[in-house]
């Protein structure tokens, strides 16, 4: 076996809560990067892809476990890696040349040598003649070329990329991807390994020699396999589509074996999100759910999620929350990467708006604990209102602050749509919908 460049040993990330339990973002994970391969890290949003990347580069320290750079702890090692960022992360006040030169300057290199190297790499990525431009004068694709040039100018052993193509349009992304592949295959760049984080399944299958798929809640490796397809890869080839389909299956299937639970230093078991009180609401809008159901119904009530994504030109980050939501509400079932509509789902898709709301209401109260609790709490109160804070505090025990806010936002959105309750945004309180109607009626009477 080859020598590993980076090795992560049981790294995990969690946020300690004031109370005993903690919010686990990534469960203990082993991972290594060896020379000569492009590794793609795939996963839905919230699976901790970016967090994992940052731990592997040494940018962020793991909560537990250790990352080794050539078998030396990464915190003290002289690490030679680069990152290409999704947002490019160029310094807007530096010219293209100065941006590329900056990392060399950090190493204390002589001006002449800096100039030579920077010009050479700008030439390699096709930015000849742009050295005096400022990033904001360039198109997105050109800007990301600067990002690549800056990353490659230090001749990194491992090149990390954090969704490098997702801010670009389809054609530009395609173009840049193939150029990168060419540089890699012809060994124009001395880089030993490439690690790319993406949520685009085709991109992963197109580029990678090895694909790691992450699951979420908390983030964990679901599968890690090698891609044996030869380059150049053909998107239309059966082997290619089969692989894409397989990844879709992995992503949409519930975990066969839940990852083992980590333990706190005191030996107490960390609570597992899935066994916890509240299920995690997928952040989908009711309109999106209705749209998806109609589409599935058009496809005779059953279709491949991969095909659906393709039809909609959606990436998995866009589609999966909607699929999850439809599944949670009992409108859809997913088996082996195939989505099938349920009878309620079919009725929902076919009904007019008032009936749709009614169906949604029934399904939501039945399946979503948080919504059920809100409705009950409102009914139990004599003034028929409940403060948002009350639920915030309960969710807080289980989710990170950011996620708690998003959970509440989704719950409010669903509840308002289903007319389960209304929400007074200025007082941050849930209100019974009738009460609101009543109020507006009485005030209307006053005016008359």
């Amino acid at each position: 076996m080859q020598t590993t460049i980076i090795r992560a040993e049981r790294v995990e990330k969690y946020y300690a809560q004031p109370s005993e339990n903690r919010i686990q973002v990534i469960s203990p994970t082993d991972l290594s990067i060896v020379p000569g391969e492009i590794v793609a890290l795939l996963g839905p949003s919230g699976s901790g892809k970016s967090t994992l990347l940052r731990m592997l580069t040494g940018l962020s320290a793991p909560s537990a476990g250790q990352v080794y750079w050539h078998e030396q702890p990464i915190a003290t090692a002289d690490v030679n890696v680069s990152i290409v960022f999704q947002s490019f992360a160029l310094f807007p006040w530096l010219t293209v040349f100065e941006n590329v030169e900056a990392p060399l300057k950090a190493r204390g290199m002589e001006p002449a040598e800096r100039r030579k190297r920077a010009m050479k790499i700008l030439d390699t990525v096709g930015l000849d003649g742009f050295q005096a431009a400022y990033p904001k004068e360039l198109s997105g694709g050109m800007r990301q070329r600067v990002g690549f040039a800056r990353a490659l100018v230090v001749e990194p052993e491992v090149l990390f990329m954090d969704e490098p193509f997702s801010a670009l349009d389809v054609l530009t992304a395609e173009n840049l991807r193939s150029e990168l592949l060419e540089l890699w295959q012809k060994k124009t760049i001395p880089t030993q390994a490439i690690f790319i984080v993406t949520h685009n399944i085709e991109e992963a299958v197109l580029l990678a020699d090895r694909i790691i798929v992450l699951g979420r809640n908390p983030g964990h490796v679901r599968t890690d396999f090698r891609v044996a397809l030869v380059h150049p890869r053909d998107r239309k080839a059966t082997a290619f589509t089969q692989l894409v389909d397989y990844i879709y299956k992995v992503l949409t299937q519930p975990d066969a074996q839940p990852p083992e639970l980590p333990q706190t230093p005191t030996g107490k078991r960390v609570r597992d999100q899935r066994q916890m009180h509240y299920q995690m609401l997928p952040h989908a809008r009711p309109g999106g759910i209705a749209g998806l159901l109609e589409l599935v119904l058009d496809h005779n009530g059953k279709d491949d999620i991969y095909r659906l994504a393709d039809d909609l030109a959606f990436e998995i980050d866009d589609l999966l929350p909607i699929v999850d939501a439809a599944q949670l509400l009992g409108f859809l079932t997913v088996t082996e990467g195939d989505a099938a509509i349920t009878p309620t789902g079919a009725e929902y898709a076919n009904s007019e708006i008032l009936r749709q709301k009614e169906l949604f209401r029934t399904a939501a109260v039945e399946n979503v604990l948080l919504l059920r609790q809100i409705v009950r709490a409102i009914e139990a109160k004599s003034d028929r209102t409940v403060a948002e804070e009350f639920f915030h505090d309960m969710l807080d025990e289980q989710f990170s602050e950011e996620e708690t806010l998003r959970q509440l936002e989704t719950a409010i959105n669903w509840g308002r749509y289903a007319e389960l309750f209304d929400f007074d945004a200025s007082r941050r309180r849930f209100i019974q919908p009738e009460k609101l109607h009543h109020d507006s009626e009485s005030s209307a009477e006053v005016i008359e």
Binding site: I83, Q86, A89, F91, W93, A106, K136
Partner: protein
């Protein structure tokens, strides 16, 4: 001249104005106490230094009213403001940097900023002057330093806050990029932190310098007990002219001030704004940019380029190289485990020592208050009430005319183009210059200083409100206004549903700034030396001025504490909740 950030595009602008930032944070009560103790300690320290001062009044400098002496006076004043500004800039950057990166000091430093912004700077005038005169060998130099330090204390806080909040809002990925490429602290500062903070610093610098003129007028010439301090400068020129009732000299002086303000705008701020355009974080190159021939000249001058190549470039190269080497060595030592932290006992010891000194000085200052008898307490409280009323009446009056006027201007681009430059000059014109003229006029008409001081406050602060209302009106999307027209809203309905909510956040920003300004202005507006006589009215500002005139430090201390308390309380109880409302409910995004 004060410009609005980037052509009235106020979304980022409001973020860059430091006052606005203060309201985003809140602190536990004990932090405020700590800050208050620090302030008291500083006050006491100044008084102690003053005790050593034993100088006799030296032959006084006589202000000449000849127009030919104006250029030299103007030069002195500009140099004073310039030095104070440079001092502020360096201090603001240092303060902001430490506050942003030192987790332990952060909350205390930010609470201090909040309070220091609210304290009436002018009541420090006597203390600072005496201390500086005591510290420096020749008296003139001491007074000079005192003026500079005073202007500095009026300028620095909003700049410090601006830099701090820039550092706090650094885009995460830019920070990560500089980490992954191994930027040293030095490189990070010059290539990431300072450039990112530049725009905020530039806007706040303009506000600060305009404020500097305000304080300059007050501190170039003032009386303290039987001592008369004066410095050659525009402020003393104008005050002397007013005392001598010399109308032509006053006109010359005012014209000079206007000329300097316009020249500063053209020669300094315009090039600086044009240059700072490259520090904007934006995705596309903006269409409307400010052009500056001077910047063009500087950037394209061969001689300047050559100088830069032969001095600045090699210097920065050698620094970068040395820093990189040092970093490598440090990392090697770190890997070998040779890096040691300062021992804990040392740090704790230093902290305890500092705390004890502050506590001692603060209590000593408070003990001084015992010398005040009850009647004086009552008088100070009465004065506080009177000034409070005056400040709010002036705010109300200002709002009454500026809101309709500002909205009219904001909705009419043609009018805005004409009025905007005038408002900008008016806003940065130091109001105290006009005080003597207005007082003279009011006295002739038979009005007293009680009413007159309201006019004076108004004069200094209404522009901030007008300014912000114009910006707010411009920011209301035209489709909202079209909806109002389409459905034939009544005039009242239009104001109620479209205009007032639309300008609300801007109005609040304007009112906050104006209120702070009005409190500060009360110190010069309620107490006036004119033609050998002293005019005054009941008020907290008058008490501060009178106490410093007569050298009654305990009253000065008490009145200053009361004023600071009132400003901070009003900020917390009134402005901050309103600001929060503006940030949430009335945000147009």
């Amino acid at each position: 001249m004060i410009h609005l950030p980037s052509g009235f595009n106020y979304t980022r602008g409001r973020e860059t104005l430091a006052r606005a930032q203060v309201f985003k944070r809140s602190w536990p009560f004990f932090l405020d106490l700590a800050v208050a103790a620090l302030c008291l300690a500083a006050f006491y320290g100044v008084l102690q230094i003053v005790k050593f001062w034993t100088g006799k009044a030296e032959p006084e400098f006589v202000v000449s009213l000849k127009p030919s002496s104006l250029p030299l006076y103007a030069f002195y004043s500009v140099v004073r403001i310039g030095l104070a500004y440079l001092l502020s800039l360096v201090f603001a950057i240092g303060y902001g940097y430490i506050a942003a990166y030192n987790k332990r000091a952060e909350s205390l430093m930010i609470a201090a900023l909040d309070i220091l912004q609210s304290i009436p700077v002018l009541s420090f005038l006597p203390g600072v002057m005496l201390a500086m005169v005591a510290l420096f060998p020749t008296r003139q130099l001491g007074v000079e330093m005192g003026a500079i330090v005073l202007i500095f204390t009026g300028q620095v806080w909003n700049m410090a806050f601006s830099f701090y909040s820039s550092l706090k809002s650094l885009p995460r990925e830019l920070g990560e990029a500089s980490n992954i490429y191994g930027f040293s602290t030095w490189q990070r500062f010059w290539q990431l932190e300072l450039p990112f903070g530049t725009i905020g610093l530039v806007w706040n610098s303009m506000i600060s310098v305009a404020g500097g003129w305000f304080f300059l007028m007050a501190c170039e010439m003032f009386v303290l007990g039987d001592r008369d301090f004066r410095l050659p400068g525009l402020g003393s020129y104008l005050q002397t002219a007013a005392s001598a009732d010399n109308i032509p000299a006053m006109i010359y002086g005012i014209l000079t001030v206007i000329a300097i303000i316009v020249a500063t705008d053209q020669l300094v701020w315009r090039p600086v704004i044009a240059w700072s355009d490259k520090f904007k974080i934006e995705q596309t190159a903006g269409a409307d940019r400010i052009n500056s021939p001077i910047l063009h000249f500087i950037q394209h001058s061969n001689a300047l380029g050559a100088i830069k190549r032969h001095t600045f470039v090699p210097l920065s190269e050698s620094i970068y190289k040395r820093v990189a080497e040092r970093n490598r060595e440090y990392r090697a030592r770190q890997a070998a485990g040779q890096v040691k932290d300062t021992p804990v006992w040392l740090r704790v010891g230093v902290l305890i020592l500092l705390g004890a000194v502050v506590l001692y000085a603060a209590t000593s200052a408070l003990l001084k208050l015992r010398e005040i008898h009850q009647g004086q307490y009552l008088l100070v409280l009465e004065g506080a009430g009177a000034t409070f009323l005056r400040v709010n009446v002036s705010l109300l009056l200002a709002a009454l005319w500026t809101i309709p006027a500002g909205v009219a201007i904001g909705f009419n681009p043609k009018l805005a183009r004409i009025v905007q430059p005038i408002v900008q000059v008016a806003a940065s014109f130091p109001a105290p210059i006009l005080f003597p003229i207005i007082i003279l006029g009011l006295l002739r008409m038979g009005g007293g200083l009680g009413i007159g001081s309201i006019v004076l406050m108004l004069l200094g602060t209404q522009w901030y409100i007008l300014f912000n209302v114009i910006a707010g009106a411009m920011a209301i999307p035209s489709d909202l206004r079209e909806v109002a027209t389409l459905f034939q809203f009544t005039r009242w309905q239009r104001w109620q549903t479209v205009i007032l909510p639309g300008i609300f956040p801007y109005l609040i920003t304007g009112l906050v700034t104006a209120s702070g300004g009005a409190w500060n202005a009360s110190i010069i507006a309620e107490y006036f030396h004119l033609k050998g006589q002293t005019l005054q009215t009941l008020g907290l500002g008058a008490q501060i001025s009178a106490a410093s005139d007569k050298g009654l430090f305990q009253i000065l201390l008490l009145a200053t504490i009361v004023m600071a308390l009132m400003v901070v309380t009003v900020n917390r109880l009134v402005w901050r909740p309103l600001y929060r409302l503006a940030e949430t409910k009335y945000k147009l995004s």
